[in-house]
Amino acid sequence: MKTLLICEYREGKLLESSYELVAFADKLGAEKAMVLIGKEAEVPKVNGKLYLADVAKYGEYKPDLHKKIVLEAVKKEDPDAIVFLHSSYGWDLAPRVAAALKAGQVSEIVSINEGKFEVGLCNAKLRRTVTPQTGKMVLTIQAGAFNVAGDPQGKAQIEKIDLPDAVSPLEFVGYEPAQKKEVDLARAEVVVSAGRGVGKKENVAIIAALAKALGGELGASRPVVDAGWVEHSRQVGTTGQIVAPKLYVACGISGAIQHVAGMKKSEFVVAINKDKDAPIGEVADVLVVADVMQFVPALTAMLQK
């Protein structure tokens, strides 16, 4: 099998997550070539062909042009699989490439199960294995699902791609920085997070009290932040903060993929959930099957003794 790996580049730098594509290709035992819309000083340290298009001309986010560059590399390389990260860049670009090639696309692959691609269904409460029916396939892989071993040390063989026509129907204006972080959860030894299961905004104080009793910080899942119960700077997950504390306590959090990706490197995970089958149980060292509003105050009281 031959893979074409679409690397990511943002704010003048190659994104480290690009190496996860390499880990995925290695896991498949596949040959690999790469595509980067970036610059020569920032190419991945990987042996193999790298198709490089100049970011000064094609922008960091001009998906119609990036699609054309990927298609040009596909023409030259004739890969079996074109692989993206399931990221804001990859999930945006992959379907455009798939539709243009009329290639079957598999989104957010979490593992390879007996040679088939495994993906989540219903917030990862079920799983599916899927099989593309087309000669070429487009794949996106879950962030963090394929781990990179060791420091990269290869040297890419660069071939430049330049298109005669570089008009984008979409104008990329620039970036807006993330909201200023009031708290750096990444530094906290303990993070206690509130999920939708806490029920209402007033109950967040009960979760915050447990965080305080454990000498830690309050975190939250996305729905709680979107509902305005907790400020965005405390959101744990792919669009919030990635944390790896000594102790992570998930209170009423079902364990959506995007949340788990932000906390699964925690040393010890306690989940409190009334649903024994909640996917958070997959990453929990201890799953307490209980109503959060009954269990958490009792735990806080015990710790304060």
Binding site: H86, S88, W91, D92, P95, R96, A98, A99, G104, Q105, V106, S107, E108, L121, C122, N123, K125, L126, R127, R128, T129, T131, P132, Q133, A143, P169, E171, F172, V173, G174, E176, Q179, V190, L214, V225, D226, H232, Q235, T239, G240, Q241, K246, L247, V270, D275, K276, D277, G281, E282, A284, D285, V286, L287, V288, V289, A290, F295, A298, L299, M302
Partner: protein
């Protein structure tokens, strides 16, 4: 201005899911269905745009699925969409994203929509493919994962949400397609008078065969519950007993509780 909003009906994600009889999807028995959460933001954004434009835009809301999706289309009309299109398909869950996108593009192709709104992904399948594929098939500009939307002088200014909370600001000329991320706006609840009004709005039912000409590109081999990690301990029973056990475990296994 003509606007299309594409919505999907999905089960309540707090449900317990079982695998269906042929082992390829979830079993629908006992599940409560509702509008896909991301799509609520799409409907709301379309309705807000209509209000800002002095009510001149005409909003069509479209869904593909079995009879039960009719109720959800009526909800979208009660939120402010002008007309509904139900593309009838009892087996829509068996269609892959390419087929769904092709059917929607087949419907939209000759209708000259200026703006098309989607949710960025569905809560059940979660492929995040259909919106961008429709844009690609129709050959129109597209921005996905949008958390900020403004429209002026024929140009959409959209903010895309990137990892770590950074946003990319982009401008698109019409016609354009937007896929909506959670938090883009605050979806409204339909009021009783609007629910009554929605009952009088046009709801067109059309068979999927009129629009779907494509075969599937990706097949499901099997669906199954995730393997349990096996290492985790499960505590059940009396709250005070569990508190005592958990504190003991934390003292033993972490340096955090002494």
């Amino acid at each position: 201005m003509k606007i299309l909003v594409c919505i999907k009906q999905v089960p309540d994600m707090a449900s317990r899911f079982k695998v269906n009889g042929d082992g390829t999807w979830y079993d629908e028995t006992d599940l409560a269905f509702r509008m896909n959460e991301y799509d609520e933001y799409a409907v709301e954004q379309a309705v807000q745009l209509k209000e800002q434009q002095g009510s001149t835009p005409d909003i069509t809301v479209l869904s593909i699925g079995p009879d039960r999706v009719g109720e959800m289309i009526k909800k979208a009309m009660a939120m402010g969409c002008d007309r509904g299109v139900h593309i009838q398909d009892k087996d829509s869950f068996r269609k892959d994203p390419w087929q769904i996108a092709s059917a929607i593009a087949g419907f939209a192709r000759d209708k000259k929509f200026d703006l098309i709104f989607f949710g960025m992904q569905s809560q059940d399948r979660g492929s995040g493919q259909v919106g961008a594929m429709v844009a690609e098939i129709l050959g129109i500009a597209c921005a996905t994962t949008v958390v900020g939307f403004a429209f002026a002088d024929g140009v959409v200014t959209a903010k895309r949400e990137l990892e770590g909370g950074i946003r990319a600001v982009v401008k698109l000329k019409l016609p354009a397609l937007i896929t909506c991320q959670l938090g883009l706006n605050t979806p409204r609840y339909p009021t009783l008078p609007n629910i009554m009004k929605a009952k009088k709005k046009e709801l067109l039912a059309l068979p999927i065969a009129d629009f779907l000409k494509e075969k599937e590109l990706v097949a499901t081999a099997s669906a199954y519950p995730p393997a349990k990690k096996g290492t985790g301990l499960v505590l059940e029973g009396d709250v005070n007993d569990m508190v005592g056990k958990l504190v003991g475990i934390l003292k033993e296994k972490t340096k955090v509780v002494k």
